[in-house]
């Protein structure tokens, strides 16, 4: 195993995380999202990337050579452009997907947004339906992002790829939801995220009671 620790991560903490991962031959990067303004360097060259600013270690992770796993705190997922950095990291590892960058980026953005707001921050989406309740929704979101009980909850992004197929999963630790509820009216302030994901992926599945979404992208056909 190759272990890299980023700024403000001491050796003992990094070693403890690596031991929990049981990472084998993987390249592990341990970072503190509170000290990073971007994930671009953090994701560079690593297989398993773990944020010490979130609660709990992920436990043993089986990550093959063609995989990328990122575990990041909710507060960081709201502050940093995670979707862009992960999409760029995946494109660097899977050049076959160059023509799907927009779809991968947008689908990731929507999945991460749902994981943050409705998963780990447990925000009631119905509060966004009316303008009158919008201030309450906004204030509650800000309050919970600042609360370590919510802000330290992890979001785990797992990507695996083969020659012509990429699977990306985004998992939160919230209470889950019923994926059958998908308002598709663009005039509804909520619900368009999943519709957008469905339009950009070859396959979408939900698991863990709705806490995990898996999205499959096929590489563009060779010209």
């Amino acid at each position: 195993m190759s272990l890299l620790r980023r700024r403000n991560v001491d050796e003992a903490t990094a070693a403890a995380v690596a031991a929990e991962l049981g990472a084998g031959a993987a390249k592990v990067t341990v970072f503190d999202s509170r000290c990073e303004d971007s994930l671009d360097e953090v994701l560079s060259g690593a297989t398993l990337v773990v944020d010490i600013a979130c609660d709990g270690f992920p436990g043993p992770v089986a990550a093959g050579r063609r995989a990328l796993v990122l575990r990041i705190a909710t507060t960081a997922a709201a502050r940093l452009d995670v979707a862009e950095s992960v999409a760029a990291a995946l494109l660097a590892r899977w050049p076959s997907a160059a023509g799907r960058r927009g779809d991968i980026h947008t689908a990731l953005q929507e999945a991460i947004g749902n994981a943050v707001m409705h998963g780990n921050l447990a925000l009631d989406g119905t509060m966004r339906r009316l303008r009158e309740s919008l201030p309450v929704f906004g204030a509650t979101m800000a309050e919970r992002l600042a609360d370590p009980v919510y802000g330290r909850r992890p979001i785990t992004i797992t990507a695996e790829w083969a020659k012509r197929r990429l699977r990306v999963s985004v998992e939160d630790v919230g209470s889950g939801f019923d994926p059958a509820f998908r308002p598709l009216d663009c005039r509804c302030p909520q619900g368009n995220g999943i519709a957008d994901i469905l339009g950009r992926c070859q396959e979408v599945t939900f698991s863990a009671g709705g806490r995990c979404i898996s999205m499959v992208f096929a590489a563009p056909s060779p010209t």
Binding site: D81, T106, G138, P189
Partner: protein, 100 residues
Amino acid sequence: MEYHVKDGAGRGNVALSGRLTFSDAPQFSKVLDVIVKRGAAGCDIDLAGLDFIDSTGMSLFVYVYDAAKSEALDIRMLNVKGAVREALCRAGFDTLFPLG
């Protein structure tokens, strides 16, 4: 996302820049009030500086649309381009506002 108010002759002008995403949801109410209160002459929303928008960001414009209808406001979207234009059209927002 950042917003800047540049009121002109007779009309309000609010310029949005950066990325308009779920992270900005806590300030939607404030931004909506700024747009709606630009005056009875109407308001232009300038998106020239906006690089990216997700579905939660788009929901801000749903509130703007509803407020425009209920309060008879004239809202125009200006300089909608690139990935932002593509995302708004894909979600059907070009049926709510002419995208200039």
